[in-house]
């Protein structure tokens, strides 16, 4: 046969079929603080501290943000949110509750550790740790297995401008009904 044996759609069709994602899984370890990391005896104290410092430094930049303290506390618990102002007005972000580092091919990736937040809404009725993109990582600290993308948490940046792309299409769009930028 010279064609695909099956074709399917997940998102485009009105009745999506659910598939299990086959993304590679890797080991990750979650620690509440440096002391728990040192007690785990997998990293030296210096590595534990370097990993913590990196996560802490990333925390304010990447944490999920809310415009209302109430919404933030609904997700992360009463008294577990802090106010920040990074040029976009007062926003609320959860406190960093733990940090995680991935083990890629068995080696600890402690210089790319990331902050975690304890969410009460991402795991059904009980709580668990989520990354800065809100993606569940593990219910408790210690060793776990996560999809690789969960450990590559999205980073945030301060956007200064939009609409810097797309102008050629409108400039050339008068032709042929402006159907497509493709070919």
């Amino acid at each position: 046969m010279k064609r695909s044996s099956t074709v399917r759609l997940l998102l485009m069709s009105t009745a999506p079929v659910l598939l299990t994602a086959c993304e590679p899984q890797e080991e990750a370890v979650l620690y509440k603080d440096v002391a728990e990391c040192v007690a785990g005896a997998r990293l030296t104290e210096d590595q534990c501290k370097a990993a913590f410092d990196h996560a802490k430094a990333e925390h304010e930049r990447v944490a999920p943000r809310y415009t209302s303290q109430n919404d933030c506390e609904t997700d992360f618990g009463s008294g577990k949110c802090q106010a920040v102002n990074q040029g976009a007005g007062i926003q609320f972000i959860p406190l960093m509750a733990a940090y995680a580092l991935g083990y890629y091919a068995g080696r600890p990736n402690y210089y790319q550790s990331q902050p975690l937040y304890y969410s009460y809404t991402s795991y059904g009725s009980s709580g668990g740790f989520v990354n800065s993109g809100g993606q569940p990582v593990s219910r408790s600290t210690g060793s776990t297995t996560v999809s690789r993308s969960a450990m590559a948490a999205p980073t945030r940046a301060v956007t200064m401008s939009r609409s810097g792309f797309g102008s050629s299409s409108s400039a050339k769009g008068g032709w042929g009904g402006g159907r497509s930028s493709g070919s």
């Binding site: 074709v7 759609l9 998102l11 009105t14 980073t155 810097g164 299409s169 930028s181």
Partner: protein
């Protein structure tokens, strides 16, 4: 290769709606056309289309290194100087490409002739990979086509497989982007995004116009998350020329198609292929236009280096009759290509879009137009293999 009339599926518009095909009719004009189909023999598909596609693709890929080593070739292709290092770096790092479509003139016998490579922003993908497949399956179920009817169409299998292959190296999520108002482009990226999800890749969508630029030169989505990997159904040369373009090389963004693909979607690749493989049976003679090139003679076509959907193409047939498609792409240098009129079937000029996914020939889609120059008003007609 024959064109055969067949009854339309009475419910095909409902099926299209259910399956997310929103651009089967564009501005009241039919685009998806199943009132006929093309029938090929397996030999025609394998010997005359699949094998030459693989060979032409390899010949084109072999040119990338040649071009990157030569400033004068980059000048000839009008590659913007500010992006040359970035383009070269994307090739040196082996940034993977996903797909391309080469347009071939083929009448059922003799060698297929390469018209051009659409290697940056090819469309008509969903129709070829998915809806054409569904059409065949349903027409067989309903007894209008024999059970033995097959199709040259591994496109979706190979797209999903390629996404899975490149996934481990790709920052997630992978963003999919096209011009907001283009139903056709939005449909094409929705389909590609679906294929990526099937391969287990987390995806997001954003309109090209909504992409933001941060204080530290990163591209951002509407929630200020950094876009680290972007599939863009938007010409690389447009990105280069627009306001955010200069931020691309230092943004760290991974693009699909990657920057080096701009070299192969450039019509200048046609004269370069001819220079390296003069007389190749699947190539048409082609040259760069220079200041001393005489006026267009009968038997030649004139195309801009950068153009889409047949725009700004001028063609003079051997009998002296001239055919012109107007358009906006009049701001780049030109190439000349020997005329090879498209074959006509029942009054329709048919061009074969032969798909390449990663580096493998993957299938075909056929578009018909009422004129010699295939434009964005063409109709997509399905095909079968039937010996």
């Amino acid at each position: 290769m024959r064109r055969i009339a067949i009854a339309e599926r009475a419910d095909w518009r409902d099926t299209a709606t259910r399956l997310g095909f929103r651009f089967h009719t564009i501005e009241g004009e039919p685009y998806w056309d199943e009132s006929a189909y093309y029938a090929f023999s397996l030999r025609q598909i394998e010997d005359d289309l699949e094998d030459p596609t693989a060979e032409l693709h390899q010949m084109a890929m072999d040119l990338v290194g040649d071009i990157l080593r030569s400033e004068s070739l980059m000048d000839q292709l009008a590659v913007p100087v500010a992006y040359r290092d970035w383009i070269a770096e994307s090739w040196r790092r082996g940034e993977p490409h996903l797909y391309g479509r080469m347009d071939l003139a083929y009448a059922g016998d003799g060698p297929a002739k390469l018209f051009e490579l659409n290697y940056d922003t090819p469309t008509s993908l969903y129709e070829a990979a998915f809806f054409q497949w569904v059409w065949l399956e349903q027409q067989k179920e309903r007894g209008l086509l024999p059970d033995a009817a097959d199709q040259y169409n591994l496109i979706q299998d190979l797209l999903v497989e390629t996404f899975a292959t490149i996934a481990p190296d790709l920052p997630k999520p992978l963003y999919f982007s096209a011009v907001r108002e283009s139903v056709e482009d939005q449909g094409t990226v929705a389909y590609l995004r679906d294929c990526a999800e099937q391969a287990g890749i987390a995806t997001r969508g954003i309109a090209i116009e909504d992409i933001g630029l941060s204080t530290d030169s990163r591209f951002t989505d509407l929630d200020d998350y950094v876009i680290e990997a972007l599939f863009k159904l938007y010409p690389l040369e447009f990105l280069f020329a627009e306001r955010f373009g200069p931020a691309l090389p230092r943004s760290g963004i991974r693009l699909i198609e990657p920057p080096w693909k701009t070299l192969l979607s450039n019509k200048g690749i046609l004269p370069l292929l001819w220079q390296k493989h003069p007389g190749h049976p699947n190539l048409l003679e082609a040259h760069f236009e220079t200041q001393t090139t005489p006026a267009l003679a009968p038997g030649w076509v004139r195309k801009p280096l950068y153009s889409r959907e047949g725009a700004n193409v001028t063609l003079i047939l051997p009998d002296g009759s001239q055919h012109v498609a107007s358009g906006p792409y009049d701001d780049s240098p030109w190439i000349r290509q020997a005329v090879h009129p498209l074959p006509q079937f029942d009054g329709n000029y048919a061009v074969i879009g032969s798909w390449v996914v990663a580096d493998r020939p993957a299938g075909i889609g056929i578009r018909e137009d009422s004129t010699l120059i295939t434009r964005d008003t063409s109709r997509f007609v399905p095909h079968v293999i039937l010996d």
